[in-house]
């Protein structure tokens, strides 16, 4: 009888140990799952926060724009900087659409990359220097940097075929040293090879590198005429 009770007791202890082990295993499993979701949500919340903040603080201002009808060139002068004076490198891409030829090129849909990007135009991004007499003269071209990673939109969704629709499949980087320098971040976009008898729409996407990817937080639409 004593032996029987001992065996039964051992069985009960064993059952309880198995139940405990199961409870711990399930608990750890749930913890790992919830933790991974939580970490993902935290990261997404932080990225969203940074993008919202940049969109609010971003200050890309079109200060002057004109077109030379005889050379079919559009000149766009922009000032790049941040409201707070907290200088950062500025990343942007350029999209140019012939509105007359592309029915999709409507500011209403420009949040996405659109098909029908023209390839016949050329775009040069210039920085300036100041001469001794105080005149701003174009100094150097900004070298395009090929986009090799995924570009996400404001809602953290990947933008499909983004590189197919931006000029040169590249982004341009204006260094913070230039933004905070004597020219105060003045840059010039010189777009040639257009046919100015048509209507054009130029879209500048402000991008932010987070991790290995690029995130768009704002876009500007410029139309001509």
């Amino acid at each position: 009888m004593t032996h029987k009770l001992k065996v039964r007791g051992q069985a009960n202890v064993l059952t309880t140990l198995i139940v405990s082990a199961a409870v711990i295993a399930i608990g750890l499993g749930i913890w790992a799952y919830v933790n991974s979701i939580s970490a993902q949500q935290s990261l997404q919340a932080q990225i969203r926060g940074v993008l919202t903040e940049e969109a609010l603080r971003d200050k890309l201002t079109i200060v002057h724009m004109y077109a030379n009808q005889s050379t079919n060139t559009i000149y766009i002068y922009m000032v790049v900087g941040f409201i707070t004076g907290n200088l950062r490198d500025y990343y942007f891409t350029i999209r140019v659409y012939n509105v007359s030829a592309n029915p999709y090129a409507n500011p209403r849909y420009i949040y996405m990359a659109l098909p029908g990007n023209e390839t016949h135009y050329n775009c040069t991004v210039w920085t300036f220097s100041i001469t001794g007499s105080g005149e701003y003269v174009p100094q150097a071209n900004i070298t395009p940097i090929a986009i090799t990673t995924t570009v996400y939109d404001e809602n953290l969704n990947p933008i499909p075929n983004y590189t197919a629709y931006v000029y040169n499949a590249s982004y341009y980087l204006i260094p913070s040293t230039y933004i905070g320098g004597e020219t105060g971040g003045l840059i010039l976009l010189e777009i040639t090879g257009l046919n100015l008898s048509y209507k054009y729409m130029i879209v500048i996407d402000s991008l932010l590198p987070i991790g290995t990817n690029l995130y768009r937080y704002k876009y500007y639409v410029i139309t001509y005429p």
Partner: protein, 143 residues
């Protein structure tokens, strides 16, 4: 049920409760804290952007050009001190962007203040004169 088994079961319950508590502390609480921080940063950025926008809207400058004396007159007719950083002059030969500190005696104008200056480089027959401020406003004058 033996007292030992009851003890084991109680231990299992306690461990389960501890695990549930650990999940709450290590996942949900940091998530809430991060969300609050993100929201606060958003509000701060919004305040800065709103202030900048309001200041920008308060800027107003009147620009005139005297053909005879080839001088540019700039008057601050807005409600906030402006800092002029660039003067844009366009004529039939091209566009000239000039550093304001090279042209103006005083680049900062308080409300109501006026300044008259002559560009160091003579610009024949300007078609358009623009005065750009540090808040990226540009005010034009067309003769």
């Amino acid at each position: 049920m033996s007292s030992r088994t009851r003890k084991r079961k109680l231990q299992a319950h306690v461990i389960g409760a501890l695990i549930a508590f650990a999940i709450a502390v290590t996942t949900i609480v940091p998530l809430i804290i991060i969300n609050i921080q993100v929201i606060n940063r958003g509000y701060n950025a919004l305040d800065i952007a709103r202030m900048h926008h309001e200041e920008r809207m308060l800027e107003a400058i009147k620009v005139t050009y005297n053909e005879t004396y080839k001088t540019i007159n700039i008057t601050n007719i807005g409600g906030i001190t402006v800092r002029i950083i660039r003067i844009w002059i366009k004529n039939n030969t091209g566009l000239y962007i000039l550093d304001a500190s090279h042209i103006l005696n005083d680049v900062e104008l308080t409300p109501g203040e006026s300044t008259t200056n002559k560009p160091s480089k003579p610009i024949p027959e300007p078609e358009l004169i623009g005065v750009e401020t540090s808040r990226a406003n540009i005010f034009y004058y067309s003769p």
